[in-house]
């Protein structure tokens, strides 16, 4: 063994670190205020080492996994380690600083063991509003990042002395629903404090040097697992492409292209042939492209691999500056986080279909299917109702797809109709399976669903952010496509199909019918 540490101590430390990250997620999930956190669990917790390499993760939201592997590294490029002090908590949301989109706010706490910087606790949470042109901060017509909300560079909001009230109130003054946001912020600070406490105890028991040795060993183990998994894939070059429905404000489909090269224990993913950055908020960051790769390789080759820095040493990911996946800092990105990332996964899956189709599912409802109702809640407070909608899973070689489920990069849950009706001025008329929406095949794609919302209160707004309206979920091996997404607005006896990226004002009596896409079929029927 190359590390002077026994394999049992490694395991003991691994369990302790994972428990620490899980405790962070517990604090945020249970006590934060943003609806996405509480019902849907759109949050992640990570512990990185002093350089920013991932050590442990709590709730494993795949889309955040790749991103958080870079957050601290990029943060350290802006804030040198000498400036960090015990008790600090830094907040940031810049997409270019190891980020994804403005609503995902990261809280970073440096952790000092035996007087030296040893690790960082990172709590990422999707805030229900981050300011900008439209309630909920998904501005469909955005053409630049500044329209999307408040941009927070690394900002020391908390020190050992406590919260910096001035900075905090400056930030909150720029957001809708400041009371809720303050709750989110406090939850994130508390989560990182909990992780600090766990690490201090671990250090008392084992000492920093032993923990460091265990981390090195865990990195090596994950790297070995990943290399073993890649070696199990047939060598070759595989091309895949998938299309965004449009560039944002309703233009033409835009292509995400990947070339995968498997060579022994090494895999490279080259997205250079992807289209140029689009005008609207469907661009995303290279970190999100990495997240797509990390998810896809795990799903296809090694689902049980421990996520940490070592995991990714065998992978090489390239994006082209100026493309959708590496657009430059001025471009809007809010939808790219959960839409374009899924396009990247679909492109990778289509490429792998040439190598290992038996391991894959056909195309599924790979979109957040997001509707945001802005306005005031029943209790009079400002509150956005942020709802993602699941559809059918793609079929596989050995089974039908599952109805109404989140697939690939996302795993948020729906908000029960009873909660929607109790908290917001919205009535849910029906919620049923969209029968016949799954693609035909030897095995059928899963069914999507229908949910109909009726507007009861004045002054509500609606934002849509979804894909698969134009380009349907694909079939595999001769299976048929699933039915595409469709959102229809019924007003005064007339109806109109809504675009995938829109902001509009609603009036009392409006009915919004959401029909989610079915999964693709697998094999010829």
């Amino acid at each position: 063994m190359k590390n002077a540490i026994d394999p049992f101590t490694v395991e003991v430390i691994r369990h302790a670190l994972t428990a620490a990250a899980e405790e962070m997620s517990f604090v945020v999930m249970r006590s934060a205020r943003s609806p996405l956190l509480r019902e849907a669990g759109d949050l992640s917790s990570a512990i990185t080492d002093h350089k920013g390499d991932l050590i442990a993760q709590g709730r494993d939201i795949p889309i955040h996994l790749g991103v958080m592997s870079f957050t601290v590294k990029k943060f350290l490029e802006r804030v040198p380690a000498e400036r960090l002090k015990a008790g600090d908590v830094w907040f940031l949301n810049l997409p270019e600083v190891g980020g994804n989109h403005l609503p995902d706010v990261k809280a970073i706490r440096p952790i000092f063991l035996e007087g030296r910087l040893f690790a960082f606790a990172v709590s990422l949470a999707h805030w229900g509003d981050i300011g900008g042109a439209w309630a909920g901060s998904y501005f469909a017509a955005a053409t630049e990042t500044w329209q999307e909300g408040v941009r927070i560079p690394p900002l020391r909001l908390c020190t050992a002395e406590g919260i910096d009230e001035e900075k905090c109130s400056f930030l909150l003054a720029n957001l809708r629903g400041p009371a809720e946001r303050e709750g989110d912020l406090l939850a994130q600070i508390a989560a990182t404090r909990a992780a600090d406490g766990r690490l201090q105890r671990l250090c008392e028991e084992h000492g920093a040097a032993t923990i460091r040795a265990a981390l090195d060993r865990l990195d090596d183990l994950s790297e070995a697992q990943m290399r073993e998994a890649i070696a199990g894939l047939p060598d070759g070059t595989y091309d895949g492409e998938d299309f965004l429905d449009d560039d944002g404000p309703g233009g033409k489909p835009a292509a995400i292209r990947v070339r995968i090269e498997i060579k022994g224990e090494h895999a490279s993913f080259d997205f250079s042939a992807t289209d140029d950055a689009v005008a609207g908020p469907l661009n995303t960051t290279p970190f999100v492209a990495m997240a797509a790769v990390y998810y896809a390789i795990k799903a296809v080759a090694g689902p049980e691999i421990q996520p940490n820095g070592g995991c990714y040493r065998a992978l090489d990911v390239r994006t082209r500056p100026g493309s959708i996946l590496d657009p430059g800092i001025d471009k809007p990105v809010v939808g790219g986080n959960h839409e374009t990332s899924q396009r990247a996964v679909d492109a990778i899956m289509k490429a792998f279909a040439q190598a290992v189709p038996e391991r894959l599912t056909a195309g599924g409802s790979t979109t957040a299917g997001l509707l945001i109702f802005g306005g005031t809640r029943r209790d009079g407070a400002t509150g956005t109702f942020y709802e993602t909608h699941g559809g059918g899973e793609g079929a596989r070689a050995d089974r039908d797809g599952t109805p109404v489920v989140r697939v690939h990069l996302t795993n948020t849950m729906n908000t029960p109709a009873e909660i929607v009706e109790a908290e917001y001025r919205i009535h849910v008329e029906e919620q049923r399976l969209r029968r016949g929406s799954g693609g035909a095949g030897k095995h059928r794609g899963g069914e999507g669903m229908i949910r109909t919302y009726t507007v009861l209160g004045e002054g509500l707004t609606l934002t849509t952010m979804f894909e698969r309206r134009v380009v349907p979920p694909y079939g595999l091996q001769g299976g048929k496509s699933g039915a595409p997404f469709r959102v229809t607005l019924h007003r005064n006896g007339e109806s109109r199909e809504l675009l995938g990226k829109e902001n509009l004002a609603l009036v009392v009596g409006d009915r919004v019918v959401m029909e989610t896409s079915g999964g693709g079929g697998y094999g010829e029927a």
């Binding site: 049992f8 395991e11 249970r30 183990l221 009873e418 109790a422 919620q431």
Partner: protein
Amino acid sequence: MPDSGWQVGIDIGGTFTDLVALKPTTGELRSIKVPTQRNDPVASIKAALAAAGLTAVEVGDLVHGTTLVTNAIVEDRVEPVVLIATQGFEDVLDIGRAGRQHLYRLDLPPRRAAQVPPERRIGLAERVDYAGKVMQTADATAIADAVGRAAASGVESVAVSLMHSYANPAHERAIGSALKAAVPFVSLSHEVNPETREFERTATTVLNASVMPIAARYLDRLQREIQGASLHVMHSAGGMASPEAAAHRPLAMALSGPAAGVSAAQHIAASLGLGKVLSFDMGGTTTDVCLVVNGAAEISTDSKLAGRPVRQPMVAIESIGAGGGSLVNLSTGGLSIGPESAGAEPGPAAYGRGGTRPTVTDANAVLGYLDPKRRLGGAIALDVGAAEAALAPLAKRLGVGIVELALGVQRVANATMVRALARVTVERGVDGRQCTLLAFGGAGPMHAAHLAREFGIAEIVVPRFSSAFSALGCIVADMSYTQQQAVRMLSTHWDAARFASLHDGMLGTLMEPLQRHGHGPDDITVERTALVRYVGQSYAVEVPFAAPLDLEVLGRDFRKRHREIYGYATEEHWEMQSLRLRALVARRTKLGPLHASDGEPKPTSVRLCWFEPSAPHQTPRFDRDRLPSGTRIAGPAIVEDAWSTIVVPPGYTLSSDAMGHLWIREGKK
């Protein structure tokens, strides 16, 4: 409770059925273990009674913990159900919460299929809003039509779950009374689980309906065959219920067996005056841990069983898939324990029944903790050679000695359990290091000291009857009923009259079965818990309160608990999400002192045991049944009874008290 006759507790487990019986007039205690008769729990009960030398007429109360409902659900042997739902929401079980279990496993189905197939879903045209206001009345024709279709399906059991029925159950009641004339079993969602979130409420109601016929048949047969005794069953919240109540809501028995163990833990904690206790029940394939504060177990109302939501009040047991029979795996990713297990057959290699893959028990055998000369329960002989052979390939691959590996396996197994202990304490804002570890079950007492050291716990109790602890729990359990109901009231818009009417209505429902049993208001204790959160949060904090409710005090207690659990609190206003009431009649079972022998403890043998890799220790072994009370033994030492082994490592001291409990503490105390 009548004072005459034996108080009998019976716990039917997968392999053995345990009985503990107490004669209150004399204090005489009996304890027996018999093999469980597969698929015939009634026969197992009769066999246990016979083995204990008891006839039905001698039995006063018979309380039993059963896995009947649990097994039916886990093994998917439930009965078919018709679901009547609000029109437009018939597919609620397919849609669920749309999440998936396995993030990266494309090969596994993301979740279990809906329990009710489309042809057994009936939509009823009706609608009540979130505040209970009727938006569309369920007319008589529609009800008659739905009932007719349900009856025509030929299915015995019908579940009714209508939108917002917790706020206004009128429509469910109307269809429920019409159904009672048409089908044998009816489950109404506002009775089973009067809380918000339509999927979880419906799934819980359907699951209850699907086990109703099974529970009714079983309880009926049991009552006929043990005529004379007063029969009760353990429910998941750690109390006992009448057979009628259990038949009406069988899902409340989903955790019957494990809850009996927690009931015993509550009793021991209270009788020993222990403020914070972690119960640690390590068996062959799983380990259950539960936090008991001031003699009361924490309750959870949002659990899952075999992937299906079970929103019933249950003792908050954290169960992990690691036990004595768990397999030790070594892959590229490192060393791990479980969840795969060697099972009852062939079992660990050390049991000499053909097992060849290494388990945690094999590691314990190699370390010398298990005596090869003794037979486990008089039946299983230990084969240390087979245990060594099973571990040898792993030791070779890791480049370590076999003892080093065995000690390592112990540490890793304990590390997985430390995580479970951390979860149940951290999530309730308790510092686990201040708890006493209460160790029971087959393997609990063997791992307790090492586990306690790993977690930072200073004090361990291995209680009397530690190998039949759930059966003990049955004879000490209070008779209790628990209900939780949605309230949803803001502190700023408090409607005292509505709250009072909700509270009193629930209380009436809970008192009814107790009063029917002959208990007056003076016998009955009521415990009240408010589930409170800040507006915007989804998870509530449990805040106990006394009647009459004082909003100021509740708000202050809420902020205090919030700070304890999450590390911060704000002055925002709050909301009462739900109210939980528990009505109980204390059983007041008293165990007498143990009639232990006097004098010095005498070792039965001395063997080499390993506690660290450098050298083994000459370790004396003692027979638990012959241990004098008030004795002190310095570790290393091993104490054995017929069913379990208690390990006292070097640096620890074991002492026995007059009640027969064994205490293990670090140092020489």
